[in-house]
């Protein structure tokens, strides 16, 4: 909206534009908690939190090509780790994060060992049954987990020096965690491990012949991804201050997978879009009917797999491909589209998912499918 860079094609202009876009995005992300009402800030916090879990799931499903229908269980494990530590041992909030991360990493490793013997299908079965099994297990371990009543713990409190309200402080803490997690996921993918993972996904035999150790990388992918889910769960406890077995039914696992697919598999910012989807669609659709979120989710998953396997993230890219030449404007800022990037006063921000959804009707190019 702002700058009219006439010399669009030149390198300098492009770099300038990218820098400005980034600046705008950062300003929007940092400014959001001061602009929005506490409840909206809370929702944004939840989006960031889900994005962490989805980034982990993306490592496994999108980049690893394995299927987990049980990531809600790792999310729950992280959440309960934090809650139990806070409840019983009164450790500080921050101390729970490394424990939850390490614990879930090990748990993932434990599940990864059978996983590496299983084709994707069986992994899905095992993880699904684990997700179904966990809530009754949590109820049973009542002395530790508080049974079906759950545990209520202290939320994260802002330190006095910050001068921030509770919701704002939480937002920034979760923002920090999410930033680190997303960067970690990105860098992991660009490392040796990540490339090995992609090779395994695309052709196991070929990867093996090239010297990639299948078992090691499949197991590690599972462990990493469980760790991300655990971290998200831990942060969930900080933000919500309450855990109960019913918050982590297997519906959560399925919702996470759904969000990821809709957001965009194997895309770096697909998890962010997916997280926004997981957060906002149910809360909007719930007004219509209790069942509406499921109908929307189910239909969208199937539709996405049919026509846009790259999800919203892929659509955004395609739309940008079509729109940018037409508008010769700073549309890319919309394509970067961190969900909270509605700048405090930005006019072109009609609901993050809407443009991506609406545009492709007129956007024929379906060529760049993968």
């Amino acid at each position: 909206m702002s700058m009219n860079v006439a010399t669009l094609g030149t390198d300098r202009a492009r770099r300038l534009r990218a820098a400005l876009t980034a600046l705008l995005a950062v300003a929007a992300v940092v400014g959001a908690p001061f602009y929005f009402a506490p409840f909206q800030v809370f929702q944004l916090t939840m989006v960031l939190l889900y994005a962490v879990a989805l980034a982990g799931l993306n490592l496994l499903v999108g980049f690893g090509g394995q299927i987990s229908l049980g990531h809600g269980a790792f999310f729950a494990a992280g959440a309960y780790t934090a809650a139990v530590m806070l409840d019983r041992y009164d450790t500080g909030h921050l101390a729970t994060l490394p424990v939850a991360a390490a614990g879930c990493f090990l748990l993932g490793l434990g599940f990864g060992v059978p996983a590496l013997r299983l084709r994707g299908l069986y992994l899905a079965l095992v993880t699904l049954s684990f997700a179904v099994f966990l809530p009754p297990l949590l109820k049973r371990l009542e002395p530790v987990t508080g049974g079906s009543m759950g545990l209520t713990v202290d939320k994260l409190q802002p330190p006095a020096w910050s001068g921030l309200a509770e919701d704002q402080w939480m937002y920034f803490v979760v923002l920090a965690v999410a930033t680190v997690a997303l960067l970690l996921a990105r860098n992991l993918l660009r490392s040796r491990v990540g490339r090995a993972l992609l090779a395994v996904r695309d052709n196991e035999s070929a990867a093996e012949v090239m010297g990639v150790r299948l078992s090691l990388h499949k197991t590690l992918a599972f462990a990493w991804s469980a760790m991300f889910a655990g971290v998200a769960g831990c942060v969930y406890t900080w933000v919500i201050g309450f855990v109960s077995p019913d918050s982590f039914s297997f519906v959560l696992s399925i919702t996470l997978l759904a969000g990821l697919v809709v957001g965009g598999l194997a895309s770096l910012y697909g998890p962010l879009l997916g997280a926004a989807f997981v957060m906002y669609v149910p809360s909007v659709a719930q007004d219509i009917s209790e069942a509406a979120p499921g109908v929307v989710f189910g239909l969208l998953i199937i539709a996405v797999m049919f026509v846009a396997p790259t999800g919203l993230a892929g659509l955004a890219g395609r739309v940008r491909g079509v729109i940018t030449p037409l508008l010769t404007r700073t549309k890319p800022s919309a394509a970067v589209r961190t969900p909270e990037s509605e700048p405090p006063s930005a006019p072109p921000a009609p609901a993050e998912t809407a443009p991506a959804d609406a545009e492709p009707v007129g956007a024929p190019p379906r060529t760049e499918k993968e």
Partner: protein, 296 residues
């Protein structure tokens, strides 16, 4: 009651619930044999078939008329789903097909909630109360009825596959789709038929289990896990294995719930998880399955 009869009693009850798992597992195996897909929505399809039956009965149709109508609707629904939802992704990677069936799962579940609400409905029990006494072991008519129905379904499927020309075609497609197509079989139609059959068999399991579990959209979630365990145990490509696996899982679940204190009634759902893991680690092809030998 002696300890032995008590165990036998538990076994009988296990066989009763195992028969239900067996029929859903049978549906899973049918689809897996024909299309190589594990249908995560199988339980939900059974659930919605059960709702159809409930709706028919509630609107005044006698049960024994409503049942065949329900089965016919399920058959048509299964064929339609194969054609509309599965066929387009048939050739896609496994990840895609699994995600699509998960999408179907969510969609069907929510649709049932949307149409019939999430409140629990009472499904009429068709079998008479009471039962017979066999050497101190009490066998309810309902248990016997379930076992009989599943046995009949098994028998019909056996006849269909082994003694009809359609069955021969279906086996040909399951065995080698490419060759089957070359010899003039309409593979697409056979696949539709396979899905239709699976949906019908699944519907039977739903109708059988509904009086016990009560009808609600999430009714089949737990049953599906048991059916997965049954299919894994029996081997995902063996219909006989699915039935044997179902019965074994049912008995194991009941015995574990009754005699292993740590498990009890609430953690029984851990039994299928353990079974699946154990089978996959020890004998991944299952009891009756053939080990897949692939040239990569």
């Amino acid at each position: 009651m002696s300890a032995v009869t008590e165990v036998l009693q538990q076994v009988v009850e296990g066989v009763g619930s195992g028969a239900v798992y067996a029929s859903l597992a049978l549906a899973l195996v049918l689809i897996h044999r024909f299309t190589g897909i594990v249908n995560f929505a199988q339980g939900e399809l059974a659930m919605i078939s059960t709702y159809v039956a409930w709706q028919l009965v509630a609107s005044g149709m006698p049960f024994w008329l409503a049942l065949p109508v329900t089965l016919a609707v399920s058959f048509a629904g299964g064929m339609l789903i194969e054609r509309l939802v599965i066929r387009p992704v048939q050739a896609a990677p496994e990840l895609t097909t699994v995600i699509v069936t998960v999408g179907l799962f969510i969609f069907v579940n929510a649709m049932a909630g949307l149409i019939w609400s999430f409140t629990v409905k009472d499904f009429p029990q068709q079998f008479p109360d009471g039962g017979i006494d066999l050497a101190g072991v009490r066998v309810d008519w309902s248990t016997l009825g379930i076992i009989a129905v599943v046995a009949v379904v098994m028998g019909l499927l056996y006849l269909l596959f082994q003694h009809t020309s359609i069955g021969l075609m279906m086996r040909a497609v399951a065995c080698n789709p490419a060759s089957a197509r070359l010899s003039g079989i309409r593979v697409g139609r056979v696949l539709m038929l396979g899905w239709g059959l699976a949906a019908t068999v699944g519907a039977v399991s739903g109708v059988l289990v509904a009086p016990v579990l009560f009808l609600e959209p999430n009714m089949m979630g737990g049953v599906l896990i048991y059916a997965f365990a049954a299919a894994t145990l029996g081997g995902f490509d063996s219909p006989v294995g699915a039935v044997v696996g179902g019965l074994l899982v049912g008995v194991a679940e009941t015995l574990a719930g009754a005699y292993v204190d740590v498990i009890g009634a609430d953690l029984k759902v851990g039994v299928p998880l353990v079974i699946i893991l154990a089978v996959l680690l020890v004998r991944p092809q299952g009891l009756f399955g053939r080990a897949a030998v692939e040239r990569a």
